[in-house]
């Protein structure tokens, strides 16, 4: 192969591989927010000052809401080194590079030696302030030796990944290294910074070698007595806690882990996990606590591991350490638990204990439990607020107002908020106040009229602004960033839930479907104009379900009028933000579809003419046919069987909504002109049948299809055609009445039988009483086989040619005839 050819192949392969990689990355998207599985308007991400305790925000689906440490151990170590070498001018960036970011080769060549840097420095590190500092003066030289030793140690404890190498960790070598470090540490008299680090490494190595007793001895004999604020002492303490666990003293181990939890945020998650895994009796651990802070940490850990509604941890921590930030976290957890179990069910209708919901007695007792807990928590919040001992007592007052909203007492909620007006709130707490105000305003409105909508508007505008700010803050981050979920969309999620779970139901309650539909649009589009790509113009997939399934033509006409009215209220202008001139074709597409459902075909033609039509007809997905050739809707074919569906195989025979509407309108005109034209009736009936879920053109009147549609009954207003085929049946019968041809009559009767079959209700599945359900299902099948039109087929058309065809194709008819023989 000539060289240039090979190069071209390599280049093309590389580009394809690269682009595929990009596509996969983009397709993966960010991780979902683990905090977003229940409805909450009281989020840690908004009200708490930092994310130190984010792993412990309430989330009953995980052991930890966020499994990552919130503080970087590497950053702390780097900062300690920077402090140690501050007079020599070492920068944290350069320190971090040498400690954590050099490749194996550089480490091996330059550092892993008892005399590091004896071969000089690579060009990339010539100006590294850390290394220059280490070489600059005698004292720092010791640090350089230490650096060489820990770099040398790394391959021993951080084994390179060679999967088929059967050699296990060389515990003897690790143990010996540990002893050598111990000697170094014990002999280091001058430099406390290095002494602690040598001793920590010694303990760590002995720990890794499985010599827990000796490792704990290093801590007890050498490290415990060092007075230092270095976090390295904390890492040693964590090792000691683990060693005690291995040696069987789980109570002492749990106690030490609670100390690490309190004092070393870089090891907080690790300490919590280990505390929990110890399963030590809390009462015994508490006995070891030496002061209130230590007790508070133990109570808090117990509280973070408690998924029941329970105020004890909150009350205990408050009693002994009211200033602890953990009080606020525990308070938040109790609110979130109520949101998960009580509020979410109240708003969404999907109860937390959904299984128990059917058992009304259990449900009632649960409601009492929730109500009592809300009252208890509210009373405690009032106490916190009155005593003002916690950090940010305003939080407790806000919680109280929120609980009042949760109970439906907007009067009490407003009163609590009003009492806050004298307080100067920081941004976080003021944001929460705004959210509660929005919720209370919505709750207090008996009816959403112009007056109440105007009251609501400022809060909605504020929320919208917050959502935008949040989006902007996220924009810098690539979508595939695996850490993206660390910044949950707090405001966006709340906005989504407010519109869909509070405003939409309120409008539906006052029978205002149009405003409910707009509320849902705002929920899904975040009060921004709908962003439509050209290929989406013919699909209303971007519209919410309520639009696709519930809107009638008069609703949409009303919307179009509202959109065209320049004098609409500011609230309405805001509320209709998602609808722009660009989105109008989508709305006309929906209107055209709704007219098809309403059999107003002339109006459908007019509406669909507002929608830009593609040059080619859209093929349907080829799931029923074996070949891969494109196939198209063909709404006027007539077949004895529904499956496999018969499609048009060439584009020139294909239909789209506009062509279908035009032909149906023509048929309606034809029938008016010639009322006895049975062919026109038959064709009209076929058009209706084929746009049902059983036909080849279902997408002309529906935006979704499922193989379970036959179980759905009459749920949507267009189901009389889509699942029940009642209009088609009527027109097949009309056609039958207008013809004298017995074969055509038989065919019309058979088609009417197919329509009638769809009206036989399929029994709702009941897994709790499966046997009864099986009986009901058997009864259903019996009904299907006793279709009333089958009697007519047998009685009136037994001698037609058509019935032979029908018997060959239709097993139900065969079963019926067999049973009557």
């Amino acid at each position: 192969m000539p060289g240039w050819k090979r190069s071209v192949i390599y280049c093309v392969s590389f580009i394809i591989a690269y682009l595929c990689n990009v596509a996969f990355d983009l397709a993966c998207g960010p991780e979902t927010d683990p905090y977003d599985y229940y409805t909450t308007f009281f989020r840690g991400g908004i009200v708490l000052p930092d994310h130190d305790y984010r792993p412990f925000y309430f989330n009953s689906e995980r052991l930890l809401n966020d499994p990552d440490e919130q503080t970087s151990e590497a950053d702390i170590n780097t900062a300690e080194w920077a402090e140690y070498l501050k007079t020599e001018g070492a920068t944290p960036k350069d320190i971090s590079k040498v400690l954590y970011h050099l490749n194996t080769k550089t480490d091996s060549v330059y550092f892993r030696d008892s005399q590091p840097l004896k071969h000089g420095l690579p060009d990339s590190l010539k100006n590294n302030t850390f290394l220059n500092a280490l070489q600059s003066k005698a004292q720092a030289q010791n640090a350089l030796v230490y650096l060489g030793l820990i770099k040398k140690l790394e391959p021993l404890v951080n084994i390179a990944y060679q999967p088929w190498d059967p050699k296990p960790l060389d515990t003897a070598a690790v143990f010996n290294a540990g002893k050598a470090y111990l000697l170094k540490g014990a002999n280091e008299k001058q430099d406390k910074f290095l002494k602690l680090r040598y001793l920590y490494q010694a303990q760590r190595l002995l720990h890794y070698a499985g010599r827990y007793k000796e490792a704990a001895g290093v801590y007890n004999d050498h490290i415990a007595g060092i007075k230092t604020s270095s976090h390295v002492a904390g890492w040693s303490l964590a090792l000691k806690a683990g060693e005690l666990c291995r040696l069987g003293d789980t109570v002492q181990s749990a106690y030490l882990f609670s100390k690490v939890f309190s004092n070393y945020p870089e090891r907080r998650v690790q300490a919590y996990r280990n505390y929990v895994a110890n399963h030590a009796p809390p009462a015994q651990v508490l006995k070891l606590a030496k002061n209130n802070e230590e007790q508070a940490a133990i109570y808090a850990i117990q509280g973070f591991h408690n998924y029941d509604l329970d105020l004890s941890a909150l009350k205990n921590v408050y009693r002994i350490a009211p200033k602890s930030p953990m009080v606020n976290v525990l308070l938040l957890r109790e609110i979130n638990k109520l949101e998960e179990r009580y509020l979410n069910g109240k708003l969404t209708g999907v109860d937390y204990y959904s299984y128990w919901q059917s058992k009304s007695k259990a449900k009632d007792s649960l409601q009492t439990v929730y109500a009592n807990h809300i009252n208890q928590l509210n009373t405690f919040c009032k106490q916190l607020s009155a005593e003002r001992k916690i950090n940010e007592p305003v939080l407790a007052r806000l919680a109280s107002a929120y609980l009042a909203w949760m109970q439906g007492d907007s009067k009490a909620g407003f009163a609590t908020l009003t009492a806050l007006s004298a307080e100067k709130l920081n941004d976080r707490l003021d944001s929460q106040r705004q959210i509660i105000n929005l919720l209370l305003t919505a709750q207090s409105a008996l009816k959403f009229d112009n007056v109440n909508e105007a009251r609501l508007l400022p809060s909605l505008q504020w929320l919208s602004k917050k959502v935008r700010q949040e989006e902007l803050a996220q924009k810098g981050k690539p979508e595939w960033d695996w850490q993206s979920y660390n910044e949950p969309a707090n405001y966006a999620n709340m906005s989504r839930d407010f519109y869909s779970l509070i405003l939409k139901p309120a409008y539906l309650k006052q029978k205002d479907t149009v405003m409910a539909a707009f509320a849902q649009l705002n929920s899904e589009w975040g009060n921004t104009p709908i962003n439509i790509k050209d290929n989406e113009l013919l699909s209303c997939d971007i519209l919410p379900e309520i639009w696709q399934r519930q809107l009638r033509s008069y609703h949409i006409q009303n919307m179009l009028k509202m959109a065209a009215n320049p004098a609409r209220t500011p609230y309405l202008k805001f509320f209709m933000t998602p609808v722009s001139a660009k989105s109008l074709p989508v709305i006309y597409e929906l209107l055209g579809t709704v007219y098809l459902r309403e059999h107003n075909y002339a109006a459908a033609v007019t509406s669909l003419n507002h929608v830009p039509q593609p040059k080619q007809k859209k093929a349907v997905s080829n799931i029923w046919n074996d070949d891969d050739k494109p196939q198209y809707p063909s709404p006027f074919v007539s077949a004895t069987n529904d499956y496999p569906k018969i499609y048009a195989k060439a584009e020139r025979y294909a239909y789209d909504k506009l062509k279908f509407a035009t032909e149906m309108a023509a048929l309606q005109t034809q029938i008016k002109a010639k009322p006895k034209d049975y062919v026109a009736y038959y064709k009209l009936a076929s058009g209706l049948y084929n746009t049902s879920t059983y036909g080849n053109s279902w997408e002309f009147i529906s935006y979704r299809w499922s193989s379970y549609d036959y179980e759905k009954g009459n749920r949507d207003y267009y189901d009389r055609d889509f699942t029940q085929c009642t209009s088609a049946e009527k027109y097949f019968l009309k056609a039958r009445s207008l013809t004298n041809n017995p074969d055509v009559k038989a065919q019309c009767t058979f088609m009417a039988a197919k329509c009638r079959q769809k009206q036989i209700a399929y029994p709702a599945r009941d897994y709790d009483d499966y046997k009864q359900w099986e009986k009901r299902e058997a009864a259903y099948h019996l009904k299907v086989r006793n279709n009333p039109y089958f009697i007519e087929m047998q009685r009136d058309y037994a001698k037609t040619n058509f019935i032979k065809l029908a018997i060959a194709d239709c097993s139900y008819l065969r079963d019926f005839l067999k049973a009557r023989k």
């Binding site: 009953s60 059967p166 296990p168 959904s354």
Partner: protein, 335 residues
Amino acid sequence: MLLLTMFLAACRHERKVSTSFYYWKTVYKHNQTEDSYLRHFHSANLYVRIMDIDRDEFNGQAVPVSPIVFKDSLPADLNIIPVVFIVNDILKEMSTAQIGSLAQHITGFVSAKVQQAGKKNFTELQIDCDWTATTRDNYFLLLDKLKDQPALKGKTISVTLRLHQLKNQKNSGIPPADKAMLMCYNMGNLRKYGTQNSILELSELKKYLGDNLKAYPLPVDIGLPLFSWAVAFRNQQYIGLSKRITGDTIKNQREFKPLNNSLYSVIKPLPQFGLQPNDVIRWEASTPAALQETAKYISRFLNNDTVNIIYFHLDETLLKNHLNARLETISNLLR
């Protein structure tokens, strides 16, 4: 006639039964209780899981997963029989060259691990794989390649045999091995909601065994279960095995409400077990009674004069539920 019957019964040759265990943990350490079982049954062999082999999630290569670490050497009077579990799926797309290389890797790795166990040599290597019709050819090729390894010359290559492979010999084929170990467990539908015991249920076993066992062309050892587990369901759909739940945890009535003999409803959120309220746990155990019933049934279909029973697996907490004497009864039933 009675006398004749007695005579015939007396003539029946007593079968020699040897008992051993699987060691299926990732760290080998001496344990007095476990050792006492080995001694009680005069076990000559211990079947030690060396590693699983699965696909590396980054480069797709077959690699060892959780290889065993020997904290102690095996007792001097106990032979090691290394066992390697191969995830069936990895065999699907392997080339002949890759299979040859895998056989080499397995041999080297197993030999080194045997040394780490304090043993100079081993006489048998067991391969555990739930092979299917689509992986059969590659799996059998791997077994052939293993036999060709110089370091395995003269050693027995045995394979595990699952019930479906025994029943469906036409599709599953007969592996080119020296013998097979029939796994008399994991037979029911684990994922189906209900009260069945998917670990060991005689009625299920009967569907597979019978003449299929009698006519199997390889010598067959018998594997019997000692383990128990918690099968978790949500809305009656299988969600997994909750490994942290033990026989003691399930008895905690503040967390689990008994629904009947084997089903328990979860009362409160238990994130440490990955469970939510209303999840249902099916507690499945291999009871001494079920083991005895099984042994009695199997006994009829064994052709050989000797039979090896291998219990899965040697673990102090599991052995608590199976007294020596009861396991002894099982050996007697197979004699």
